[in-house]
């Protein structure tokens, strides 16, 4: 049986993540055997080698993680986690909003909506540490930033407002949305770190 990648499917841009992972898995040569599956319960999580936590509304997704009793199963998930935007807020250890119960998988403090409202959302080419080739075309939508990181967290990219991409062990957390574009270099790098 091929490798299985899960996408947390409680709310947000789930189908975009599924498509992007399929593309990245194909480029890594396991497209024909790998599966990408929606995760709604702890049973769905079983057998996944990696998990994506998508963009969406972090307060909503946090509430649904609790409601669906997924907090501990995700905390104890042995595979790597690929988190974008709302996902980055959720995997952090400290969040500036008491309504969110962070998963504490990446030792960092995160501010939600750090750039402002939708009118302040932007696209920009940003250099990502260790990513060969062109700068990464990043799409920031009501994006968060990390304001502080623990020693075991590696910064991959930062902008004026703060840190926007980090790696921590097998986990990768991004303030922007690579799943909305065609560039799968970050997905591929994550898969490689997970041994996929």
């Amino acid at each position: 049986m091929g490798v299985k990648v899960g996408v947390l499917a409680l709310q947000g841009d789930v189908s975009e993540h599924i498509d992007a992972f399929f593309a990245a898995l194909s480029r890594r040569g396991c497209g024909s055997t790998a599966t990408v599956t929606e995760v709604r319960s702890s049973q769905d999580l079983a057998g996944c080698a990696a998990l994506a936590i998508p963009g969406g509304e972090s307060t909503t997704i946090s509430r649904l993680i609790e409601k669906n009793q997924l907090h501990e199963p995700i905390r104890n998930f042995p595979g790597g986690i690929f988190a974008t935007c709302a996902g980055m807020v959720l995997v952090a250890s400290r969040v500036d909003d008491p309504r969110i119960r962070p998963l504490g998988l990446v030792g960092m403090a995160v501010d939600r909506n750090a750039f402002g409202r939708q009118r302040e959302s932007f696209e920009a080419d940003i250099p990502v540490d260790g990513l060969p080739g062109q700068p990464f075309h990043a799409v920031f939508i009501r994006a968060p930033v990390a304001t502080a990181i623990d020693d075991n967290v590696r910064v991959l990219a930062r902008v004026e407002q703060g840190i926007v991409a980090v790696e921590c062990g097998k986990h990768m957390a991004l303030a922007f949305h690579p799943e909305l574009g065609r560039d799968t270099r970050l997905h591929e790098r994550f898969l490689q770190a997970c041994g996929i």
Partner: protein, 298 residues
């Protein structure tokens, strides 16, 4: 990263914002207190307005954009996105909402149209728009004008889901139809439904609208919301259905849970129990022609 290298208000940012709402419930609210209830219940966004649609029906007269004071009150009360409604064609109301910082504008038939010929030229704005549609042609005309999200019109303020079902089935059915057509037939069909041929071709190839497609207009219960999701909606708007029910907090949470588990009848059953009274309903067939909101704009 220099400021001049950043790009704001692009098509990708607008459609991307809409994608982040998927699987979510967007709730109508008329003040800060309701906005906080909606946010706590798990709404992905709130729609700020002066009156919910069922009250607009009762009041009659001309329904307009909400007072900016009210929009600001709601923006300040929550951290989730705030949307606002403007009259069809009223581009200055849209300019005002953009200045206020709303995250998405609903060019809505629930308000009294300001222009019976043209919709707003939505590509002129940095803020994304959502527009109502009854069928594929209408949806694609709105997308062609720059809408980043489509919602069924349904029949707002009735608590009657029948029109939302009709519109969702129409859009989904038409997409299935064009999938089976060849290139020439698609061009012919595009002419027939008065939609741009390129957008018809794009829908046929992708098997869905090029933007997120929500359902709205008459959703009053968790079962209504889950049915719209099973019919293919990416998410739902609930207007009068929450704050005109007898227990808004419970209803709001139940609808969020029903949308989250829309394929699981056991969960829908559980969350539907003991919710109190849903909003009072209205038979769409008893409305006079000028009381039917969905005929506004085409």
């Amino acid at each position: 990263m220099k400021l001049e290298e950043l790009r704001f208000g692009t098509e990708l940012l607008k459609r991307g914002f809409a994608s982040m709402q998927k699987g979510g419930v967007i709730m109508d609210v008329v003040n800060a207190e309701q906005a906080v209830i909606a946010e706590k219940a798990g709404a992905v966004a709130v729609m700020s307005l002066e009156r919910v649609p069922s009250d607009i029906r009762k009041m009659g007269g001309v329904a307009r954009m909400a007072d900016p004071e009210k929009v600001i009150e709601i923006i300040d009360a929550v951290s989730i996105p705030v949307m606002g409604k403007v009259r069809i064609g009223h581009f200055v109301e849209a300019q005002v909402l953009e200045v206020l910082g709303v995250d998405m504008i609903d060019e809505s038939e629930v308000l009294t149209p300001a222009d019976e010929q043209y919709h707003i030229d939505k590509k002129q704005f940095k803020v994304p728009f959502v527009c109502g549609a009854r069928d594929l042609g209408e949806a694609l005309r709105r997308i062609n004008e720059g809408a980043a999200m489509i919602r069924t019109k349904g029949e707002a303020g009735t608590g009657n889901v029948v029109e939302a079902v009709r519109h969702m089935r129409a859009i989904m059915g038409q997409i299935r139809t064009i999938k089976g057509m060849d290139a020439q037939e698609r061009i012919d069909y595009a002419r027939e439904i008065e939609a741009p041929a390129e957008l018809v071709a794009e829908c046929a190839e992708r098997g869905r609208l090029p933007v997120v497609n929500f359902s709205a207009g008459g959703i009053a219960t968790p079962c209504d919301a889950a049915m719209m999701m099973q019919l293919g909606a990416d998410g739902v708007f609930v207007g009068s259905g929450i704050f005109k029910s007898s227990e808004p907090e419970k209803m709001a949470k139940a609808i969020v849970d029903a949308v989250n588990h829309f394929n699981d009848a056991t969960v829908i059953t559980r969350v539907s129990r003991g919710l109190g009274d849903a909003m009072p309903g209205l038979d769409v067939h008893t409305l006079k022609e000028d009381e039917v909101f969905q005929y506004r704009g085409r």
